[in-house]
Symmetry: C2
Subunit: 564 residues, 2 copies
């Protein structure tokens, strides 16, 4: 193991990590709804860590706690159309949240730390997405200490309230205490979202004890402070005011998100619409996506009647779970090879419904969910290769997977002796803005930064089943091979990729996938995450005598004093 070879951290082997959960099984959060206000109350079970070796004291969290939060944020959107504002609060006295559990971090492998931070970052983005696009506004009501990841959670909300009781405070003590960064978006949100003056941000980020009271407002760290005597009423009023800005329906019925259909064995994960086949020898996963088995319902009402069986929703849930499964449970699988099977015209028919009914709350949620799933794909640190073969259905929304991939290859012509239709690729209106990447552009705009006219040329061909020659000419695929070359070319490409250093590929892909403009989101995943990953490897943080290991021992960490 890399980390062991470095003599840095004792690595606990993670058990199978399951991202599926349900409020009935939450151990750390309570989800409740009162009228149009949702409440997410954090009360972390100390003994409820994912693995042994640490206690989740003071509302500190590990990946398991965040899996519940992710689940709750998702259910609030689909199951509770009536909820227009959500209050994040603590169920404990004197502490809001102490952030990521330090013993958990110190005993985790480098890879787990990175994956943990990535997922928690994604969940904070989900909160911001709910607020910005789904009319579900978040209010963070801080009583007690919000430190490190605790304050970073607050930073994801639209509005931060802090009780003014002489002890409640916000803090980012990672650098002074632990020799790491506030890496779950904290430093970026501080200066780019809340626009804290950079020298004050520097001071704040080095104050172990944090900031409280009026100074917290003056420095733009929180939006308001409220005396304890007026707290409950003020939080309630503020939540109502936020709810008043929402465009969510008042009388819609939510869609229940039932358990996923999923069978897992040694080398396969079989969902209803997605199949993963793990090829351990070649260190790759074959991901097969199945198109719909029937035409779409006539309208949004029909989609709601199908509930979580509505194909685009069911597929998105499965694909999301599959990506997370691969990330956490299959770290040695370096390549994801996507294939699809189905009728591209039917996929386009679903896209037509998603476009025509986009003002409906549920259809909007489905589209926004696909946006998030595709972003999670963009951020997946595995090579993604999309194969478009006869019988595939890379159309519209599914074509986004091809554009998210690092490369694609398309089969030209027929296969001798096979009756399947030649491979086609088709675009729908949804390829032109419905699913922006983290950089704010569509995947086609990103692809064609250097030749913007190609976006228009592709738009002209919406709805057409483009064969390989046309798809190649329009620049929509990387390679076109015919039957003579296909098998060898694909084999060589996959073998060659598998021979490269996984770390270099991670860095290469992270730099090539996001050309064009930067946003707070790309800054968090590009700049902040990359620095955090660097620091997570440094002996000053992760070494035997580093701050993460020495924390709480009473022994000061030993630092290499060289500046790099």
């Amino acid at each position: 193991m890399a980390t062991e070879a470095h003599g840095t951290a004792p690595t606990t082997t993670l058990p199978f990590v399951d991202f599926e959960t349900h409020p009935d099984r939450y151990r750390h959060w309570k989800l409740s709804v009162e009228g149009d206000i949702g409440y997410l109350t954090m009360q972390v079970a100390e003994s409820g860590g994912l693995v042994p070796g640490y206690e989740l004291k003071l509302n500190s969290y590990d990946l398991g706690v965040d899996i519940e939060l992710h689940d709750a944020v998702q259910r609030l959107r689909f199951e509770h159309p009536e909820v227009k504002a959500v209050v994040l609060r603590s169920g404990r006295d004197r502490v809001f949240c102490a952030g990521a559990n330090i013993r958990m971090l110190s005993q985790s492998s480098h890879g787990h730390k990175v994956n943990f931070c990535k997922f928690t970052n994604e969940t904070r983005n989900e909160i911001e997405d709910a607020s910005a696009n789904s009319g579900q506004r978040y209010l963070c009501a801080i009583t007690g200490t919000a430190a490190g990841g605790g304050y970073e959670l607050a930073l994801a909300a639209d509005h931060i309230m802090l009780v003014d009781d002489k002890s409640s405070s916000v803090a980012l003590p990672e650098t002074p205490l632990l020799a790491v960064l506030a890496g779950t978006g904290g430093l970026t949100r501080l200066v780019d979202k809340r626009r804290v003056r950079r020298d004050l941000a520097d001071v704040f980020s080095t104050l172990e004890e944090g900031v409280r009271g009026k100074r917290a407002v003056d420095w733009r760290l929180v939006d308001e402070i409220v005396p304890k005597s007026q707290w409950d009423e003020a939080v309630c009023n503020r939540a109502r005011a936020l709810a008043g800005t929402s465009d969510r329906p008042t009388d819609a019925v939510g869609v229940r998100l039932g358990p996923l259909t999923r069978q897992i064995d040694e080398s396969t994960v079989a969902y209803r619409w997605v199949t993963l086949e793990i090829d351990r020898d070649r260190r790759l996963a074959n991901v097969t996506i199945t198109g719909p088995d029937s035409p779409p319902p006539a309208d949004a009402v029909g989609a709601a009647a199908q509930g979580d069986r509505f194909w685009p929703l069911a597929l998105a849930r499965e694909l999301d779970d599959a990506i997370l499964h691969l990330r956490l449970n299959e770290p040695e699988i370096g390549q994801l090879v996507f294939r699809s099977l189905g009728n591209p015209a039917e996929v386009l028919a679903y896209d037509a419904l998603l476009e025509q009914a986009k003002s409906d709350w549920l259809i909007r949620e489905v589209r926004l969910f696909w946006k998030r799933v595709l972003k999670r794909l963009d951020l997946t640190s595995r090579t993604m290769i999309v194969l478009i073969e006869p019988g595939s259905c890379i159309a519209g929304t599914l074509a986004e997977i091809a554009f998210a991939g690092d490369r694609s290859a398309m089969f030209e012509g027929n296969v001798t002796g096979q009756s399947r239709l030649p491979a086609v690729l088709a675009l729908s209106q949804l390829n032109f803005g419905a699913y922006p990447m983290g950089n704010g552009l569509s995947r086609l705009e990103t692809r064609f930064l250097g030749e913007p006219d190609s976006v228009g040329a592709a738009a002209q061909r919406r709805g057409e089943l483009l064969d390989a020659e046309n798809a190649g000419r329009l620049g929509l695929v990387t390679f076109v091979y015919d039957q003579v070359d296909w098998a060898d070319e694909i084999r060589i490409m996959l073998e060659e990729r598998a021979s490269f250093s996984p770390d270099a590929l991670t860095g290469l892909e992270a730099n090539l996938r996001f050309p064009g403009p930067e946003t707070m989101e790309t800054k968090i995943f590009g700049r902040l995450t990359a620095w955090q990953n660097w620091i997570f490897q440094r002996p000053n943080a992760a070494g035997e005598e580093g701050a993460l290991r020495r924390y709480g021992t009473g022994v000061q960490p030993t630092y290499d004093r060289k500046r790099v």
Copy 2:
């Protein structure tokens, strides 16, 4: 040593690195001028490495080679106002440049690799700055192989020509060959400057042999290919065409950049206008900047007559050298504490000249040079604290140093028994756009992202000598302390900072210093560099069995296959 503790690279201790050089002493480059065209011809001396242990074969480079390039780019601007286009070319057959020397990288410490990349990145930005702002356009004429850093050098030029001879090619083979990234801006410039389609960029960046001929043009990797028979003429014509777009003067006389006045001993570097005092116990450097000793000349002609003694130019050169000296030769010095000494009104008088005569070529160069020096400060991975005490001259251009700092502190009132004037801070027109940061904003715009009205409020007070109370109220300084508190507060601040992990501080500062928009430049230094630094620590690249160490041995590297 961190790297040794990791068992990664054998670290060669660098000798004193001197950034001063002169074309007469170049070993690796030839600088020649023919009319309005400059030629920079690369012919690296194999045995001319900065330290023993590697040979600079195939026009590969180390820091010493790039120091000469930096010097040449600088001299072309100041000493050759007549040069309107510069041709970068190779003096060797069959190879343009093989990039950074691999044995040098494999024997270097982590810190040296990082500093080497930072300096080479800065030098490529200097080339782009000359082209964009100084009317000195760069043409890269590639004969032979331009691989890795060789192609990254080409990417800095406005126009890339490649001879079409069936063997000359461009390549970024870092990932397949060395398990690292094309980290000197390569990956970013590929997709963000040249806007190569991201999937083609992915293919290109994994092709050891690179791309040549028509495909290199089709993929936007080069701007044109030319048959060998027409090469010299085509390069000449293209250089003339580029020169034709320049606004540089035709009849101006250049300013000779003479040797710096500099005395170095164990704990002091004394220039004419800058003094460094190294306090090794406290791991800090006191940097004192001296204001002008006489009023400015009346106009640009007077400035030209003073030549390299013109105070703003002389000071910028010294400060630039001092920053580079600290970076390379004083790695354990974690904090730079800036002070100044002089007459702020006189600094403002110089600024008035720099503003009034800004259309003059030399004054323009001086302003652009200050912009670059200040950017180098922004990118310096040391905490920068600026103290504004009685007798200081933090005004206009020098106030940019205070805004570049992570924090500043200003002394309020008089010192008992001292006759010095109270501390003041003054702004000039040059604080409002003359010195944009890498993010494209002025330092005041960056500072006041969250309160843009404060920029206007500050602009109203241009030319005033603001006392501490006013400077504090305008948000121009972080702390204001009076005589009672000053000494203790400053001491505690410096001690506390010195106790933190240098790595975490580097990451913290890199994230807080650049809020707001991102540019190609901030992406290179933020995203790409951070990923490269991460990879430079990974055993897959830098370990005993990693690709950097195994390169050229005939033994394949061993990779940890986990994806992070």
